[in-house]
């Protein structure tokens, strides 16, 4: 019973923080973009413009909600909810600290992969339900992109699972107490990060919304809070992707080589330390996402496919086989 209560508390706090993190990420994006572009960025609403996200959301709520006359109303409404929903349920299996997680299921990794691929339905349905050619093209691109990047991502995660010998996310983090996976499995880290960019539809893989050629891509015909939900989901997916990179490759809440030097601490202090470390790592990757977005150009559709199928997938499989062999030999001889 106490365990359930604790889970519920963690769930409440983490959901709340995830929703807020999207707002913070929006603010961070605008300020960092401004910094990169020699501008000032939002600095009028509240101290340092910190209340800008609230102003943004207020504006979105007050906008007229438009559905194209010939669009499919039901799907047009449901579509933006899907990515938000999938982003929210992802955190169920992510450990934020030692013993601080909502639930520990023994197929956590499969759960994460399954949920991550659900998000694309929102985008594809939005593209179809809008009854606009630009949206349709965006939606189709999303589907193709998801297919090509789900595979390398899955294989990269599989190479992580080998070290932990478990599909539980909590155990994967535990296995990195001394050696982070980024050191043991650098190629997997790179492949996973690239695939995570593609999954979050961020530059250089943002051809789904490709502002220049497809106007707004799948959300061309969206306005008001329906658009707001896509917007929210995009930033939540950025945060989630950063969390996953942290969890799978940067040792989750562990400090570097923590197993070797970190002294025993009281559960409360350990909890605070763990969560801080986790948040810091996630924050760094959110920054990384933003940094990349405002620096480099976008891929073309066929180049994206080529990269996914011809480079990343074979590399990921090779990486998996080599690691599997190495672990087998290690267990055999030591």
């Amino acid at each position: 019973m106490a365990e359930l209560t604790f889970s519920l508390i963690v769930m409440g706090i983490s959901l709340f923080m995830l929703l807020n993190s999207a707002a913070v990420a929006v603010y961070a994006e605008r300020r960092i973009a401004a910094f990169i572009q020699n501008r000032v960025g939002p600095n009028r609403v509240g101290p340092f413009g910190l209340l800008q996200p609230i102003a943004d959301v207020l504006k979105l709520i007050l906008k007229e909600d438009v559905t194209p006359t010939l669009g499919n109303k039901a799907l047009h409404t449901i579509a933006p909810m899907l990515p938000v929903f999938t982003a929210l349920i992802t955190i169920a299996v992510i450990p934020f600290g030692e013993g601080i997680y909502i639930t520990d299921i023994n197929v956590g990794v499969l759960y994460l992969l399954a949920v991550a691929s659900l998000g694309v339905y929102g985008v594809t349905l939005a593209g179809w339900a809008s009854n606009s050619k630009y949206s349709l093209l965006g939606g189709l691109r999303a589907a193709a992109q998801m297919l090509s990047y789900e595979l390398p991502m899955g294989v990269a995660v599989a190479s992580v699972v080998l070290f932990a010998a478990s599909l539980s996310v909590v155990e994967i983090v535990d296995s990195q107490e001394v050696w982070w996976n980024i050191i043991r499995n650098p190629l997997g880290f790179i492949i996973f990060t690239v695939a995570a960019f593609a999954e979050a539809n961020r530059t250089p893989f943002d051809l789904v919304e490709a502002e220049q050629e497809l106007v707004g891509g799948f959300h061309t015909e969206y306005s008001s809070m329906k658009f707001g939900m896509f917007f929210l989901a995009e930033y939540m997916h950025v945060v989630i992707a950063s969390m996953l990179i942290t969890t799978f490759f940067l040792g989750g809440y562990h400090l570097p080589f923590a197993g070797l030097w970190l002294p025993e601490m009281s559960p409360v202090w350990k909890g605070i330390l763990d969560v801080s470390v986790f948040v810091a790592k996630t924050g760094f990757f959110v920054f990384f996402f933003i940094w990349v977005r405002w620096t480099i150009p976008r891929f073309k559709y066929n180049q994206l496919m080529k990269l996914g199928w011809e480079k990343m997938l074979p590399l990921a499989i090779l990486n998996f086989v080599v690691i599997a062999g190495a672990i087998l030999l290690y267990n055999e001889f030591f």
Partner: protein, 430 residues
């Protein structure tokens, strides 16, 4: 027909075919026919209407694209949305009065347009221009070229998806605007050139600003080169994209950097030097590939060359008047107007009648504008107004090649290619 009676949800879901047919119809009105095969729905192709309102078409360019998946099967260009009848306006203005209209043609390099008109009128009316004015015009033209190429660079890189770049190039353009502000009292539509010279001399402050810019700009240029030339994504997005053969480029009448990218060193500054371009050293960058990457390299190299030209002009800048001293051919200086009777009368006469080239004479004179060969063809009937004035605008000729380039490419390349051709609709549609 799509039912338009009610917006509030009564419209029948008649999406694809009717819409498609309406687009075909609009093409047919423009004397272009597309064979429609609507017997087999699977073979129906999507026709995408890009523009005239589209974030990335650089103005009001409209493209009708027949798509085969993400690939372009056929493109039709629809230009003319910014037609303002500039050539007709010219017939009702004196030559000098018409000059501000040329500012609004290629609004990214107004200085070149002014010089183009002035040189053409000077040719038809046989007006001598003082040496110093020639050099000031060259400085202005080259600054305009840099300004135009900077916008190209920013917009084209933004079209590939790197948004920040646009703002970095605009920071440099802002410096150029400040220079123009100081040069002629206007940031954007500068109208500094005059028939028979330029309006005013360079102020010492302006000279300093130009010198600082000339010293600092090459560093920026190298920095951008470092960022883009080795950037795999940028390289792949442009390499081999929008390739056009030399023959096609000539057949379509492309000019400027677009034709130099296909291997022809056609540059009016070399081909038929005007002003004092024969007295400065510069190279005409040429590439053979004819693709978007070649156009990118050409324009960045041209910017470096422009800096060299400005540097030489500043060194050689001769002393002397900036406008010819002939009250029948050009406006008298303001000193004369304010302090002498004759000056005032001449000023009135210039404004009222203007320069009168001999009757029945016609001439064509072209300069190398940033976009290519910009020519003015003037027929005179002996009055102060041109009887007919025809503008040969580089953007219009360059756009002709776009249809050839677009066929068979990906939809994502359209905007990059439009950016690469670098049209300005104000000039194309006139």
């Amino acid at each position: 027909m799509i039912e338009t009676g009610s917006i509030m949800g009564k419209g029948k879901p008649t999406f694809f075919k009717e819409h498609q047919n309406a687009l075909y119809k609009s093409l047919e009105d423009k004397h272009t026919t597309i064979d429609v095969d609507d017997t087999d729905p699977l073979r129906t192709r999507m026709v995408l209407n890009m523009g005239p309102q589209h974030p990335a078409t650089h103005g009001v360019l409209r493209l009708l694209i027949e798509l085969d998946g993400e690939q372009i099967a056929k493109t039709k260009l629809d230009i003319g949305y910014l037609h303002r009848g500039i050539e007709k306006i010219a017939e009702n203005k004196t030559y000098q009065e018409f000059m501000p209209y040329t500012d609004r043609m290629d609004y990214l390099s107004p200085y070149s347009n002014n010089v183009a008109l002035c040189t053409a009128v000077e040719k038809i009316a046989a007006i001598e221009v003082p040496e110093r004015a020639h050099y000031i015009r060259m400085i202005g033209c080259e600054l305009a070229r840099i300004s135009s190429h900077l916008l190209y660079l920013g917009a084209m890189v933004m079209d590939t998806g790197a948004i920040s770049f646009f703002i970095w190039t605009f920071r440099e353009r802002e410096k150029l605007y400040d220079i123009f502000d100081n040069l002629g009292g206007h940031r954007f539509t500068i109208s500094h050139s005059r028939i028979g010279g330029v309006h005013n001399d360079l102020s010492p402050v302006c000279l300093d600003m130009i010198r600082t810019f000339v010293d600092e700009f090459p560093k920026e240029l190298t920095g951008w080169g470092k960022l883009l030339n080795k950037n795999r994504i940028f390289y792949d997005r442009n390499d081999g994209v929008g390739r056009i053969s030399t023959e096609d480029a000539i057949a379509m009448g492309m000019t400027g950097p677009n034709i130099r990218a296909t291997g022809i060193a056609y540059d009016m500054r070399r081909f038929k030097p005007y002003a004092r371009y024969n007295e400065v050293d510069f190279e005409v960058p040429t590439r053979l590939e004819g693709d978007n990457l070649a156009r990118y390299y050409i324009r960045t190299e041209e910017m470096a060359q422009s800096i060299e030209i400005i540097r030489q002009c500043l060194d050689k800048l001769p002393k002397g008047p900036v406008r010819t001293d002939n009250a029948k051919k050009t406006y008298p200086s303001k000193d004369e107007v304010y302090y002498s009777m004759e000056g005032l009368i001449h000023d009135f006469m210039m404004t009222d009648t203007g320069v009168c080239p001999p009757a029945g004479v016609e001439c064509y004179h072209a300069i190398e504008a940033p976009k290519g060969e910009l020519g003015f063809y003037i027929q005179s009937d002996g009055t102060g107004h041109p009887w007919r004035l025809k503008i040969k605008s580089p953007s219009f000729s360059n756009l002709q090649g776009l249809e050839v380039m677009l066929d068979g490419e990906m939809i994502a390349d359209t905007v990059v290619m439009i950016g690469g051709v670098d049209p300005v609709m104000g000039e194309s549609d006139k």
